[in-house]
Each structure stands twice: as C-alpha cells, then as structure tokens.
Symmetry: C2
Subunit: 506 residues, 2 copies
Amino acid sequence: MAKQPKNAIEPTRAVDYPEWYQQVVKAAELAEASPVRGCMVIKPWGYAIWENIQAVLDRMFKDTGHVNAYFPLFIPKSYLEKEAQHVEGFAKECAVVTHHRLEAGPDGTLVPAGELAEPLIVRPTSETIIGEVYAKWVQSYRDLPILINQWANVVRWEMRTRLFLRTAEFLWQEGHTCHATREEAEQETLQMLDVYADFAENYMAMPVIKGEKTADERFPGAVNTYAIEAMMQDRKALQAGTSHFLGQNFSRAANISFQDKDGAQQLAWTTSWGVSTRLIGALIMTHSDDDGLVLPPKLAPRHVVLIPIWRKDEEEAQVVSYCQDLAKELRQVEFSGGKVRVEVDTRDLRGGDKVWQHVKRGVPIRLEIGPRDIASDSVFMARRDKSPKDKQGVPRAEFVAKVASILQEIQDALYQRALAYREEHSHDFDDLESMLAFFTPQNADKPEIHGGFARAYATEGPEVQAILKQHKLTARCIPLGADEPPGTCVFTGKPAARRVIFAKAY
Amino acid sequence: MAKQPKNAIEPTRAVDYPEWYQQVVKAAELAEASPVRGCMVIKPWGYAIWENIQAVLDRMFKDTGHVNAYFPLFIPKSYLEKEAQHVEGFAKECAVVTHHRLEAGPDGTLVPAGELAEPLIVRPTSETIIGEVYAKWVQSYRDLPILINQWANVVRWEMRTRLFLRTAEFLWQEGHTCHATREEAEQETLQMLDVYADFAENYMAMPVIKGEKTADERFPGAVNTYAIEAMMQDRKALQAGTSHFLGQNFSRAANISFQDKDGAQQLAWTTSWGVSTRLIGALIMTHSDDDGLVLPPKLAPRHVVLIPIWRKDEEEAQVVSYCQDLAKELRQVEFSGGKVRVEVDTRDLRGGDKVWQHVKRGVPIRLEIGPRDIASDSVFMARRDKSPKDKQGVPRAEFVAKVASILQEIQDALYQRALAYREEHSHDFDDLESMLAFFTPQNADKPEIHGGFARAYATEGPEVQAILKQHKLTARCIPLGADEPPGTCVFTGKPAARRVIFAKAY
C-alpha cells in the first residue's frame, strides 16, 4: 500500500465520513456541543460565516422588496392546534413552557412555580403566531402584500443531533408573506426559491437543484413545498432551503381576510421560506477536504492571512512591519461588494502551527513572508483549494493586483469541482433493480460514500413510500423545468408524469 | 386661552405622558402588543431602527477587538442556581421549560408530555451558561482574554409590560469577556461603558451620565455595575446600558480557571455588558414631540422622503420621474459612514396624508415636490426637528450639496436640545426637604412631568432605601470623575464620600 500523505483531519472522508465531519467542525473551531442537550455553541469562526451568510441574504431579501420585523418567541398551544397538519408535524418535538418562575421547594431546591393557564411552545417555526398578527393588520387589499422576513432562533426537540445539521435550537431566517391573489403568492414562492438558488450557487459555490417536494415531503400545512437540493461529498442529498406556497391554509386557520377591490371578503394567500445555520453544514460537506474546512471566498471571514516568518529576533520587526503594510494595501482592494479581508497572524506561535491552523479553518489564501521574500519584494502564496504543499512565489505588486481575481478563481474552482462531482454521481434509471444497485455500497474502503442522485419516473403513494423506506431512500424533489414526456414508474409500473430525484439524505 | 395648534398625537406629552408614549409607538408603527402575554411584535419601522442600532454597535464592538458567537437559549436550572445572588435576582420571573412534546390528553386536546429530568430556563441573561462554556475553553493564560459578544433574545417574565421599555421577551446584545487579571477586566468594563456613552451621545443624540451603580442597584452577582443614565422628557431617568465587573463570582461558580505564566492556578476575571431594544424606548422619549416620533438622522431608516404632488393626471409622470432622478442623486451622497437613505413615496394616497405619516414616523427631512417646484428646479423642504409648518423652498442643486450637512445639523440640534433639557432639570441638593420638594408635582396641567435629576451627598443602606422607596425615588448612579470633597448624607446626616444622582425612573 502506497504511503498516505499526512492529513490534518483524522479520520479521512473515505474512512469515516460522519466522524470526519465532526472533526472538521472541531478543527476549524466552528461549533461545539453545549452542556444543554441538543443545543450547540456557535464559536466565533462559525458565527462569522453565519454573519456573512446573513449579510448577503439580507441584501437579497431587501432587493426583492422585503423588510425585517420580529415576532414573539412563544406560541400559545391553541395557535399551533389551529392547523391540523401543522400541529401534527411539530407537536412531537417541541419545548413547552409551563411555568413562569422558580421557587424554593420542600427540599430547599428551586422548583417550577406559577403555572401558566395555557402552555407556550418555543417557536419551531412562526406561521401560526405571525398569522394571528397578520389577521389584525390585513383589512383591505390596500394592506397587501405584506413582505416580511424575520431573523430568529427556533427550537425543535431533536433526539439525535449533529452540529449545524440537526440541533434542538438553530438560527434561521423565515420569510412570511401575505398576498391578495394565488398567482402573486405562487410567484413569491418561486422568486424566493430562485433567491436561495442564486445564493447557494454564487456565494456558497454549491450547485443546487431547484424542485418541488413530493406530497410526503411537504412542510406540514403547505400546499406546495419547493426546495434547493445539494449533493454532499458522501453523495447524500442535503435540503439547503425551502419555500412554501401555503395557499389559504394558514389564512383560514387565523382568519387573515380582506375586502377586495370589488368589496368582497376574501381569504389571503400566504407563503413562507427559510434557510438556517444548516447551510454551514452544507458548506462544510460540499467543499472541505482531509485537511479541514475549505471556504468559498465570498463567505470566508478572512480572505488572506499573512504569516510573518523569521528566525533571528532582529528580523521580527522588519517582517511584521512589511506584513502590516501589505495588509493595509490589500484591505483597499474590492472583492464581492466589499473589501479584501486580511489578517496578519502575529501570535507567538511556530509558523508551521499557524499555517496548519489556517489550513484547517479554510482561509482561501495564505501568504508566508520572511526576510528572503522581503528582499525580493515578493510573497510566498498558498491557495486553500490546492494542496498545502503547492506554494508559489509571487511578486508583491503582482499579488496585490491579482488578489481579487485569485479569490474569484478559487470561488469558481470550488463551484466547478462540486458541480462535476454531482454530475459524476447523478444518473437516470428506468428500472428499480439497477437503481437499488446504485445505492449499494461498492467499495468496502469507503463505507459511507456511495450512490448519488438517481432520477427516475415515479408515482407517489404508500407503495412507493414503503420501498423507499426499506432502502433508506427519500424522494428529494421533482426538478423544475424538466419538461419531459410521461413515463413508467420504476416502483409500481404505473404511468408517471415526471421524473423524481431520489437519494439518501441528511 | 390661546388656540392650540392641532397635534398629530393625542394626548400630548403634557396631558398624559405615558399614554402619549403608547400613541407615538402606535402612530410611528414601531411595535405593538402581541397576542402572547408580555411579548411584543416589533414592526418593520421599529425593527429598521434596531438594525441601524445593531450595525453601529456591532462595528464599535469589533473595533474594540470583540467577536460575535452564539450560545444556547436554554439554561439548566442547576446552572442558574450556582451563583446565589444571580438566581435570587432572576428566579422570580423566568420562563420554565418542563416538557419536550405535546400529546393527546384524555379530552383529545394536546397536553405537555415528555417531562424533562431537569427544567430549563429560557435565558434571562447568559452569564451562567457562557461561564460553563468558558470553563472548558480556558486552560492557560494563553487562552485569555476571551472577548465575545452575542446578539440574542432574552426572556424575563415581567408582570407589567410596556412596549420597548419592559417586555417579557426583548432583543439585546450581551458581551461576555474573560480576563487573566482584575485590572484588565476592570478596564474592559469601563471601556464598554465608554462605547455605550459614545453610541448614545453621537448616534442616538442622547446625552448620558456615566456612573457607578449603588450596591442596591447592582446586577445580581456583579462586584460593580456601571450604567449610562439618560433623562427622558418627563424628567424620569432611563438606564440605557450597563457594564458589569463580575470579579471572580461567576468564574468561581463555573470554575473558569487557568494556569498563569508562573504555573499557578488562578480563577479568571469576567465582565458582561448589554444594551437592548429598550434603547428604542429611550430614543422615543428623548426626542419625540406631540406630532410623533423624531429620529436622530444617524439611526433613521430613511433620511429623506420625497413626496410627489400633482393635481392633473398628466403631471404625474413628470413629477414622479423628477423625484426618482433626485432620489438617485441623493443616494450617492455620503452621510455617517454610509449613503443618504431616500424614499420616494409614490403610493396612491393624498399628499397631506403622506406628509403626516412621515411626520409621525420621524423622517428627518421631507421634500414636497410639485410642478411649480420642478419649473423653478427647487424643492420644498421641511425638517422634522422644526414645526411641520416651517417649510422652505431650496434650489435643487443647493439641497443636494447640503443634504449631509443638514442631516448633521438636525443630529446636533437634537443632542443640544436634549442636553439643555437635562441641564435645566438637574440640580444639586444639600437637604432632604428641598430635594423632596423638587420631586413633588408643581403643575397640575402636567401631572406626569416634574422633578429631574437631583444630585446629593448620600450614603447607602436600609435607612436610605426606605426613604427612597417611600418617595418612589431611586439612586441612579454615582457619576464617574466627579472628584468632589466628602460631604454630608442628605438622608442620614452621616458623612458621605460622594454625590449620587437620584431620580424617578423607568
């Protein structure tokens, strides 16, 4: 067996993909499990990525006419109960507030006291509480549309949690819009799906498939759910964002009604759409490698890190000052609607330790700068999308002139690599047997990495669900705009209107 | 009696100050009570102000070396119990999560199920949970300092709530830092107090007094609490931000200890500091008038609103297009680290209704533009800090050239007006009788507006507390840097080291 190059992350993706994921999260200092069951601590480096995600999405939402607002954390139990499918979907895993103080119990310890007349649910999503508020705001067609987004925390009491991918509490944004017509609400739903796809592809460098969810995978209470689906490096699908056309289900439950232009009373049409800190999990699993996190430059908290290297104490001042000067110059360069974000790492640590820390944290460009580089007025550059050993000397002026285009090159390279990987592992199937073979591990060395996206004609219903469940597969989505002739369902042999994408999924 | 000018807000401040406040919040569409007891809905205009507050503070925090992170919403009951004063301070009013699902009860309705082994408290503040996490992060002096801020929602089960000023759930930021030495932690505490004062004075245009809290007013568990105190227009004090030196109290409770440079084990020194959506209440009560909200330009969601006015249908296109052009030009102008924020109000509404809506919402500059103004290439300008009737024609080019300086002029004028008001109603007292007279309503026409800030030598203790309580007064703070000789306590006649500011308070 050939000698393996040493990797910063153990185990590698091939050996144990789920554990590799946990180790990348740890090595990049993104998040950790908290002492509170199921809740995570998002550490500064992870939170800085979230701040960048927020900044870009928030601008996109505002550019499409939305404004932000804030609604209560708590939902009275009776509100949740108003929409039958909705409560069915969320009642099984929700945090319930039943008391409003603590007081000394018989044994001296504090016990819950002040029982509430009606229990409050910590919001798992806010359709019901926002619906109650909109019902008060909407009287006439002139009050519509309402185009509001909320940045918030939500809680779903998950039993098996995984940092970023599935936690009891997570951060997200939830858009809630309200319209006078079905058409307008449907357009809004699809518009926000497009915004999410644009964000995923052009900022996360993550190719996605836009599609409609099958009935079984719909948001509880929605008429239609649309999603963007991405392929992770273990070839599983990850739903990265959803946009729901809620029809009149929630406006009926909360009585959001208005007088139309003709004086008739109508129920409003609503939508909701959201992405969460789960996107950070998607980011990790799309690009990272066996040396740790790889970040698309547009979302990286730092674009360039400068690592001053010196041997003799008398060299330190010169090297550090050269780096500070260069950093100042680089911070003037425009990239992706802002300036290049630069760090000079002057910590009292070995150069090699610093390099590996920045590799593991996914900084797109590292510059190592020592007295010899200064003498030749150049920098020693390494790109995170290439091997850690692949370093090259670049004249300083050339680097400054090119840094924005190098960052864009890295951004594009990550997207192309992810797209090629997805295409390589996406196949059409016309019979169940070959489709199931596709999902059977072929390589004992890579137990977690197999399968991919299988496109096949399919119907919906209990029979199909049973087969999917048996093989741990899920219908990911019906891709939009496929425009294919009808075919035959691979599961039932019945006529099927369209192809569906199947995959194992997060 | 002279004829009163008609006001947009009823009642006026003089007639019923608390009700005036509620009506301004309503008329400016800032927030409303939600269907969930004690929780508010922050409406888009109110939330946009909060976003501006966040943007400025977040930059200030980062400029002073802090990073953001996120910690769990829930705090296990046992953590809260670790610091005796802390739990004493918060146990009486906290939301307690006791169950993690709902299931059908005997009568078919859903009832809480899945009782938790240990109740969770919805964070009223995060010292205890963050302390537990820091205890894991801190091993050596090399891990210090930790300089972290969190933007989050918190819950304190207030029985008597008031929009922005006191609500069960509110939004805030809480900084939590951890240091190797007492000196460094004390410096951090005072540095953040300075940041808050800078923000209050230079962005909110709200003069504040920086001071130390007396023992009775300290944060539960703190060694020292510092605050910025502002005077509202009813002359009551409002605590607008606090910075706490926590000593080793929380590091002892959570065992945040580290090995110092000499190899000895030490307890860390911590601080915490926060401001909340309460600042919006402070903003309202500092500047607003009987026509509604008045906003300092630096925090206004819109700086300039253009109201196109036309009579004949054929004029509409010309007027609107002139306004759009001017808006485009204005949006290029720099103001307060960004660009001038401009809205063209083209809604199908009467011009007068639009004007009053923008008056009530506090937009700093209104431009009314009709065919005659276009003919003379000028705009008809009104400033929100002046009377609604005070409008003046200004040549368009002159307005564009001056808009940033006019905004700064408004910003400065608001600050100066608030400062003059506070100075007018701040007095030193050497005897209790005259001090109590100061706090006695003198004018039956303005039942809610009286008193102010009384500075008097004072000691602390139950005797002083009893007198204060009897007269509904509170010790606001001991102003920093007063540097006065000792004097005699107005309450007890005992020697007192320093003057304290007393006031009625929010």
